[in-house]
């Protein structure tokens, strides 16, 4: 379970994330929607313990991310924006490094490595340096890294960015397959993706949580019944201009 309460992040006088609260239960695939600069990535970076919140608390699998970061990080898999990885390493040595850091040993380690390599079809590039791979393969290496320890919670920042339509379909299928007992949070600006894989969608803009509902219910808010129109209407209204911290604060 992810429990987020009154989460705020400010950079100087700019509020990147402004008093966001929500919880996510196992079995939920949460789509994080919002225009660029809305605070999606900042929120994900705080959930995964990379950024420290200005105020508010985050609990993942019952562990407070600030007080007990190692326990929280151990139960999460994270694909950061842009799927960074060590360019000079081969796919195999990179995944083995992650397996070691995650504390996987023996049979389990081998089984998990085989599993993610198979699921993400990385078998043909195992001995290649990551820097020589196409964008699609790099993204899949990043996903493999996040899935390797079979985490309870998956945080995926734009998991299908840079993939071709077939690869996008594969990744969505993968996410749907895993979603039964896990918590999956994905950020995206592709609205059809939310329809395809998510059973819950949160729209944020200007650091504020503006909508939290199932994709179907959200879509029905617009006369046209299209998620695009709802998204546009919600995120372009005047109130989403980034809030300033009041002068006396």
């Amino acid at each position: 379970m992810i429990e987020i309460s009154h989460l705020t992040k400010s950079y100087g006088s700019l509020l990147a994330v402004n008093d966001i609260s929500f919880t996510v239960q196992p079995g939920e695939v949460l789509g994080f929607l919002g225009p660029n600069g809305a605070g999606k990535s900042t929120t994900m970076k705080m959930i995964t313990g990379f950024l420290t919140p200005t105020s508010g608390t985050i609990r993942v699998c019952g562990h407070d991310v600030e007080a007990d970061p190692l326990a929280a990080k151990a139960c999460m898999g994270y694909l950061p924006e842009g799927a960074p990885s060590y360019a000079e390493m081969t796919v195999r040595s990179f995944l083995e490094f992650i397996a070691n850091v995650r504390g996987l040993t023996g049979d389990v380690r081998q089984r998990r490595l085989d599993d993610v390599i198979g699921r993400l079809a990385l078998g043909s590039v195992l001995e290649q340096a990551i820097e020589t791979l196409s964008k699609g393969f790099k993204r899949r290496v990043g996903l493999a890294q996040a899935l390797l320890h079979d985490p309870q919670v998956l945080i995926l920042d734009e998991p299908t960015d840079g993939l071709d339509p077939n690869q996008k379909h594969q990744v969505r299928t993968l996410i749907s397959e895993m979603s039964k007992d896990k918590i999956i949070v994905i950020s995206t600006h592709i609205l059809e993706e939310v329809d395809a894989v998510c059973n819950r969608a949160i729209i944020i803009a200007g650091g504020r949580l503006l909508a939290d509902d199932t994709p179907k219910n959200l879509a029905s808010r617009a006369p046209s019944g299209r998620l695009d129109d709802v998204f546009r209407e919600i995120t372009t209204s005047t109130q989403v201009i980034p809030q300033r911290v009041p002068a006396h604060a």
Partner: protein, 244 residues
């Protein structure tokens, strides 16, 4: 410990995954030889010791060690892998120490590969091998000091060139802390104890005393403290500006 070892192994292997290791070691060995034989007049002075070899190490390190340390954190920032590393279940300390030890051991490998110098001097005469061992230890400790400074400065930027230049400057100040060039800046306004304290920070003084064959506890303490302080600063810098 297991995490330190895992990060250490990855970092150490990364030197050898690119031409960096080869280029660094070859240049280091050539320059070490050039300094010892041509500038240090190893043959002409007719003494069976490695003093002309070791006495140029501080100057060799001044430019080569920052080239090794500049990538430590700046590259992680530039490529975004810092976000990956910091969201894995490892502590900041494990990452800082693991990466530093990898760079230090790599510098140690380059230093160890100068062993033909030691063979040569033993072939030519009858040197004091205890002194030579002490000088190797001193040189290795000094490399650690330079690297700790470089690691911390590398953590402040995503630009490796900036990391290199600042590391050279800071190392230069530490090298010459005991000399007039640096001390004159403080003389006249700073009280004498502070000037003495600055003078005692000099790499050169401590390295020279070890390389004469005297391994004094205070010199070991000096390098140990220096490395610990700069690595602590490294961790603090990372913690304060992980995402910038």
């Amino acid at each position: 410990m297991r995490n330190v070892a895992t990060i250490f192994r990855r970092e150490f292997a990364s030197y050898f995954a690119t031409p960096l290791a080869f280029v660094f070691i070859v240049i280091f060995l050539i320059l070490a030889g050039v300094f010892a034989f041509y500038i240090g007049t190893f043959y002409e002075r007719g003494q069976a010791d490695l003093e002309p070899f070791f006495s140029y190490h501080p100057w060799l390190y001044l430019f080569l060690i920052p080239a090794l340390s500049m990538r430590l954190w700046a590259e992680e920032r530039k490529s975004g892998t810092i976000e990956l590393l910091m969201t894995l279940p490892v502590t900041l300390w494990q990452a800082v120490v693991g990466k530093f030890l990898a760079a230090w051991l790599f510098a140690g490998v380059a230093l160890a590969l100068t062993f033909p110098m030691w063979i040569t001097v033993n072939y030519l005469g009858d040197p004091d091998n205890g002194t030579i061992l002490a000088a190797y230890i001193g040189s290795f400790l000094m490399a650690g000091g330079f690297l700790a400074i470089g690691a911390c400065i590398s953590a402040t930027t995503r630009n490796q060139v900036i990391a290199f230049i600042f590391t050279v400057v800071v190392c230069f100040l530490f090298l010459l802390a005991g000399f007039a060039l640096v001390l004159e800046v403080f003389e006249g306004w700073a009280p004498q104890p502070i000037i003495d304290a600055i003078a005692s920070l000099s790499f050169l003084t401590h390295f020279t005393s070890i390389s004469k064959g005297v391994i004094d506890f205070r010199d070991l303490l000096y390098f140990g403290t220096l490395i610990a302080v700069w690595l602590a600063a490294n961790a603090i810098v990372l913690d304060l500006k992980k995402a910038d």
